[in-house]
């Protein structure tokens, strides 16, 4: 019933939106990682879909910073990994999930210092490990340790941002780190090797991904512009899939990488075509919510067990958060 009402109100909003004015400017917070948002940005696709609107891009280091930007109402569109999404939804941030930005494979991975000879999670005891707290990789690190029955207190886990991790690594201050490209590569080429990837953790039942979010206020005011945004990102994803060589050039340029590095990092990120996002594994449809809801529930339950969240929201809360209607409309067009 609730869903139906929501659908009705958004349908009403949609019809009235045809008359609504366009926003003067749109601010997009994008995560500093390797995905098709860089293509969309570089090709000016959002601009193409929203003529006459000023588009601002803000680069955000990680999920924690993105949550702050959302709480402070500094962006209209953003992107969040599943742990920060669970945190934001549980804490009642006024956002809705719109689409899958990317599935995380080995673009996020745990690097260990080769000379330390770390072969298993147990070998991490007594070592210093860094991860950006509250992010996808911090979540996977704690999840992996919990699975192996290793007490996180037996090692020193530090909260560092990706660029600080690269810095601390080059100084020799840390022995291992679970984080993401483009900074990940700097550590691998500086005496490190990959011990675990987020893709392997996905096969073990712990998928991590980034979802596009929109501020409720913006979505209520300009629902057709949410669709325009999604259409632009879908075009970026299509471009990524059908023009890998050109995409690598764009990624290399945007992140100041060599073409070779950009190509490899691209393979570590899985882009999901927009029509596929509506299947049961991902967003699902408004009528039948997909697997992302289950991931969010599992993630928030885990965060509660880590005392990072006071309590887990109900399934309905997550179902309400993920809105497939806009994506369905875009795919239908």
């Amino acid at each position: 019933m609730k869903k139906l009402l929501l659908g009705l109100t958004s349908a009403l909003a949609l019809s009235s939106a045809a008359m609504a004015e366009a926003p003067e400017e749109v601010t997009i917070g994008y995560l500093n990682l390797v995905n098709a948002q860089l293509v969309t940005k570089s090709l000016g696709l959002v601009q193409k879909h929203m003529p006459g609107v000023e588009i601002n891009y803000i680069k955000v280091g990680g999920g924690g910073d993105m949550l702050r930007a959302i709480a402070a109402d500094q962006i209209d569109f953003g992107g969040l990994g599943n742990p920060p999404t669970a945190i934001g939804v549980a804490r009642g941030l006024p956002i809705k999930g719109t689409m899958v930005l990317n599935m995380l494979d080995y673009v996020e991975a745990m690097v260990v210092r080769t000379e330390e000879d770390i072969q298993s999670f147990a070998d991490l005891r007594g070592k210093t490990i860094a991860a950006p707290f509250g992010s996808t990789t911090h979540y996977l690190l704690l999840q992996a340790l919990a699975n192996e029955g290793i007490d996180p207190a037996s090692m020193k886990i530090l909260d560092l941002r990706p660029n600080d991790i690269a810095l601390a690594w080059s100084r020799g201050d840390i022995d291992a780190a679970w984080f993401w490209e483009p900074n990940l590569n700097k550590t691998v080429s500086d005496g490190g090797n990959i011990f675990m990837t987020s893709g392997i953790m996905e096969k073990r039942g712990y998928p991590t991904w980034d979802v596009g979010v929109v501020m409720n206020e913006f979505a209520d005011k300009y629902p057709d512009y949410v669709e325009k945004f999604i259409a632009a990102e879908c075009e970026g994803i299509e471009y990524w899939i059908s023009n890998p060589a050109e995409t690598a050039v764009i990624i290399a340029e945007e992140l100041e990488l060599s073409l070779e590095d950009a190509t490899r990092m691209m393979r570590g990120t899985e882009m999901v075509p927009c029509e596929k996002q509506l299947t049961a594994q991902y967003m699902g449809t408004e009528a039948a919510a997909g697997g992302f809801v289950d991931t969010l529930i599992a993630t928030s339950d885990f965060l509660v067990s880590q005392e990072r969240l006071p309590e887990s929201p109900s399934r309905e809360v997550f179902e309400d958060f993920l809105v497939s209607t806009w994506l369905e409309n875009v795919v239908a067009e």
Binding site: G64, L67, R68, A71, I87, G88, R91, G92, L93, A130, F133, G134, A153, K156, I157, L158, D159, L160, D164, L167, A168, R171, D173, I174, L303, E307, R308, L309, P310
Partner: protein
Amino acid sequence: MSESSSFAQHVKARFWMRSSLLSLTTVVFMFAAWEFVTATGLANKLFLPAPEAVWKAFIKAATKGYQGNTLQTHVGISLLRILAAFFAAIIVGVPLGILMGLSKDARSLLNPIIEFYRPLPPLGLYTLLVMWLGIGEESKFALLFLAGLPGIIITTTQAIWNIEPIYARAAQALGAKRWDLVRHVYLPAAGPTILAGMRLSLGFIYTVLVAAEIVAATAGIGWMIWDAAKFLLSDVVIMGLIVLGLTGVALDMAMRQIGHWLMPWEAQLRN
């Protein structure tokens, strides 16, 4: 004589009562306003939780702890960092300030350094400190120390500079050596201003505490606030800020008390 002094004491006590009452009114009013906006739903609970929620967060952190350490440990570690940096700033800053107050050449030599780094934003400076000193305690100490140092140097220099030269000349006429001058003339005369500078400098150190504990700390009240903000636990954030503020007030009061003990003449002058 004794009558008039008891009258003065009476007036002083009345005055003290009045100022305490006024301060208390401000505190009560702020609490009432906080309670009102949260109870009536005027404030978003996510950004401003009710006083009860903050109190609960306090009890939980004090008894069960926050992420592996009790509140007491977090406060203790931060106070250790603050005081270590503060004392280092005093040990370095006061002699440098005296030197700069007495010698124009010393002032000309050192001023460029102090005047240049003093207005730099701490976070900008911190990036460099982390590169040089790593993510451990050294860079945190350096940041807090550098935040506290200029205040002490500048006020000490000013204080020495403002001393009537006649005091020094009189003491010299009575046979005082250079060290005697520092101990018996300069320090006592400049003491109250130096103490004011120290209190200012402690305030500066407090302002950069959270910044210092952002990078790779696992404990400390500033880290707790930063970490809780990442998980949008605003009750913990507000609780942490109140605790941090109270420790600051307590330290400041302690310093004023120490000032009274070391420089009793200053209090007498005001009466």
